[in-house]
Each structure stands twice: as structure tokens, then as C-alpha cells.
Amino acid sequence: MIEAVLFAAGHPLGYDRIGQLLGLSPREARDKMHQTAEKYNAQGADKGIIMLAFDDCCQLCTKEEYSQFVKTALGIRRGGNLSNSSIETLAVIAYNQPVTRVYVDTVRGVDSSYAVNSLLERGLIEPRGRVDAPGRPMLFGTTPDFLRCFGLTSLEELPSVGDGISLLSALDNMTIDDIAGNDEESGTGESGQQ
């Protein structure tokens, strides 16, 4: 039954909706869907689709090994590769979300607005509210589509980087002014306050 609903929806279906259908709470629905997805995928060796169960929603999608056929059959030329700047931007956002564009600019050392917009358009990142600071800059985070395109089911599955230093904590003590040697300002590297 869930399979039918997921198919008809196409887009990720939240566990609250699924919970309603099954008469379960959202959390129970999530646990159940994780189990269901595992079974579904295990039994689906010769199926063309798999069931993805994320933290707050689930979705049906095609298996990546068939992606070329799907693209040819439907005449899709979208997708394509991510540029270096896009993937750097995406990495900064993914590991530190939610963050502002300025935060990304600071980490990368360059203006990232083009990359941010491009990622927004592809549906890999989404707005997550605004910071209560001058200018009220927008915060960004990743989407379930991001997880799907990277073969992850949750953010915890992001590959660990280096010796585990969080990018965020390191940035706490830094501003662009600091790099220039202006020691009067204390660290305001927290997103959005520059």
C-alpha cells in the first residue's frame, strides 16, 4: 500500500502523512518505513527502483545503475556534473548547516553567490530561515534530494573529514579582519554577522 502511495506522490513523503495512513505516530512511521525500505530493497534485486528512507520522509527512485538508460529513454539531458566551486560550496553547507552565504564566502575565500544560486536551482540546498542580525541574511541547508543524489540516507552518513575538527568551531575565532591583522575585533565568525 505504501508502495502505491509513494509511487503516486513521486516527491518525498513525510512520515507524518505516512503515519496518518498507517495509524501510527510519525516516529513509529519512520521506524516502520526504515524496516520496510530495507526489506523492499533486499527483495528488489531485479527491480528497477528502490525505496529510500530518510530522517523525515521517504521516496521511491530508480537504481543508479540504470541511470543512463533512464536518461536516454526520457531524453533527459539535465543533471550533468557539479563544478568545483559548486561542490566546494555544497561541502561547506552540508557539513555545517545551516549556514549563510557569507559563511561560505569566508571559508572558501571567494564570492560564492553564483554557486549558491546554482545549487538552489538544482534543488540540492534550500532556505532554512534567516539570522536575526543586520540584513537578516538567509540560512541554507541541504535537501532530501541532496541525500538521494549522494547515496546517503542521513547527514550522519557524510564521510568524515580529516581529524574530525568541525569547520564551525574553528571558524568561531575568525573574521576577515583578523586575517588582515586587525586584532581589535573579537571573533565574529558565527554565520551571518559579517
Partner: protein, 264 residues
């Protein structure tokens, strides 16, 4: 130490360039030789200028920041525990390095999994209802009915057409001959009786035309009884009126006119 050669390497930003220089020089990020790095950095920038390659403005900004750090390093430190002027730069480089690393870990995942396709949203609109409960039987039934109707129509049409196709050509001349003959035999004939012999419309018309022609030629005379009332003068044609041949009937030569009449 490699110098940027004929083709200028493209960097994502000044941090990218610096990181590359630091690695090429096999330096520790925590302990950068600012002087050397600064020189190499400036060399890159001037080479880029020589080659008319446009660099993002952040590169120039970083150049000035490097200068500041370099000059700070040259000055004797006034306070022993003052912050290392390079510290901020080191931090920035470290963070950027991690971001790059993360990006390189993520890229193969994207290459592998981004081909996954999902169905578009909203393909099924709530108010777009296809009719239900149809069965193929009703389709074939309706088709049969339509064919029958079509058949009937065709038959009807052909029965209409047949008379037209088969109708004889009624000759006016023949009728003239017939009428004259009849009047000679029967002396007094009514118009009505002359016309009633016609079997179909074409013959009727031919007969009528024959009569008109005879009258025109004054071969035929109509005996019109006196109207009983004055009002009847301009009444309808009374087909009981008798006709008789005029005295010189038959003397006129009809043959010349025959072809003319037949064309009517």
C-alpha cells in the same frame, strides 16, 4: 619549487592558490614561511597580469593581506605573547583545506548516485478524473449501431437515385403527336384527360409543355366556358376545359420545330 609556467593554473580563490603553494613548498600550515609564500603569490599575480588573465578581486585583497602579515613578521614583537600574525591565515587555510577534502569525498558519491530519477510531482491532479466503469462491449455495440444506421442511409439514397438514373427521357415532340392524335379521334377532350396519361413527373411536364406549344402555335384552341361569376375570371386553371384543334391543325410543319422542342 615550481613556478607557474606557460599555462596558468586556475584556482578557485586565493585560499586555493595559497594552499597549493604551501603544499608545493612542503610547508606546515601552522608554520608558514610568509616571506616566501608572499613572493610566490605575487609572482602568480603578475604572471596572470602579463597573460591578461583576469583574477577575482579577492586575489588582490589577499595580496594586500599577505603584505600586512609579512611586514608584521618583520617587525620585532612588542609583546611576547602577542598573537602570531599568521595565525588567522593558518586557520583559514586549514578550514578551507577541510572543505576541499570534504568536496573531494563527496564528488564520487555524486557521480555514482546522481543518476537516480524520481517521478515528477503532481502528475495526478485531483480534479482530473478519467471516466470509470466503461467496458469494451458498449464500444462495439455503439459501433455496430452506427454501421447499421449508415447502411440504412445508403440504401435510402440509392432508392432515391434509381428513378433519376433510370428515368426515361420524356420527349415533348412525342407528346405533341400523341395529343393531336387523340383530339382528332375524340373531338372533345379535356385538358385533364390529356394530362392524366402521364406516368411520372417527367412525362407530365412533357405533356404540359406540348400543350403549351400547341396553344402557342394556335393549333389548339381552348373552349373556355363563360365564367358563372365575374369573380372567377382570373381564377385557377380549370382542367376540365375542352380543347379542339383549329381548322388548320396539322397543316403546319412541325418537323422543323421538332429538334427545338425536344431540347426542352
Amino acid at each position: 619549487m615550481e613556478q607557474p609556467t606557460l599555462h596558468l593554473e586556475k584556482y578557485e580563490g586565493p585560499l586555493d592558490l595559497l594552499l597549493s603553494l604551501v603544499e608545493k613548498n612542503k610547508m606546515d600550515i601552522a608554520d608558514i614561511e610568509i616571506s616566501l609564500i608572499c613572493d610566490q603569490y605575487m609572482e602568480y599575480i603578475s604572471t596572470a597580469e602579463d597573460m591578461n588573465v583576469e583574477l577575482a578581486c579577492e586575489f588582490i585583497l589577499m595580496a594586500s593581506e599577505l603584505m600586512v602579515i609579512k611586514s608584521r613578521m618583520l617587525l620585532p614583537r612588542t609583546e611576547p605573547d602577542a598573537e602570531d600574525p599568521r595565525a588567522a591565515l593558518s586557520e583559514a587555510l586549514l578550514i578551507y583545506k577541510k572543505a576541499k577534502e570534504a568536496a573531494s569525498l563527496m564528488l564520487p558519491l555524486y557521480t555514482e548516485y546522481s543518476g537516480r530519477a524520481v517521478k515528477d510531482e503532481d502528475e495526478i491532479k485531483p480534479d482530473n478524473e478519467l471516466p470509470t466503469g466503461l467496458d469494451p462491449e458498449s464500444l462495439s455495440r455503439v459501433l455496430r449501431y452506427m454501421l447499421m444506421r449508415l447502411d440504412a442511409q445508403e440504401k435510402a439514397e440509392s432508392s432515391h437515385l434509381r428513378p433519376l438514373v433510370r428515368a426515361k427521357v420524356a420527349s415533348v415532340t412525342d407528346n405533341i403527336v400523341r395529343i393531336v392524335g387523340r383530339i382528332r379521334r375524340e373531338k372533345n377532350v379535356s385538358l385533364y384527360s390529356l394530362l392524366e396519361d402521364a406516368q411520372d413527373r417527367s412525362s407530365l411536364i412533357a405533356s404540359f409543355l406540348a400543350l403549351l406549344e400547341l396553344i402557342r402555335e394556335r393549333q389548339l384552341l381552348l373552349d373556355i366556358p363563360k365564367a358563372e361569376n365575374e369573380d372567377d375570371e382570373r381564377g385557377e386553371i380549370d382542367f376540365d376545359v375542352c380543347v379542339r384543334l383549329s381548322d388548320d391543325a396539322g397543316k403546319k410543319d412541325f418537323t422543323k420545330k421538332k429538334s427545338e422542342l425536344d431540347r426542352i
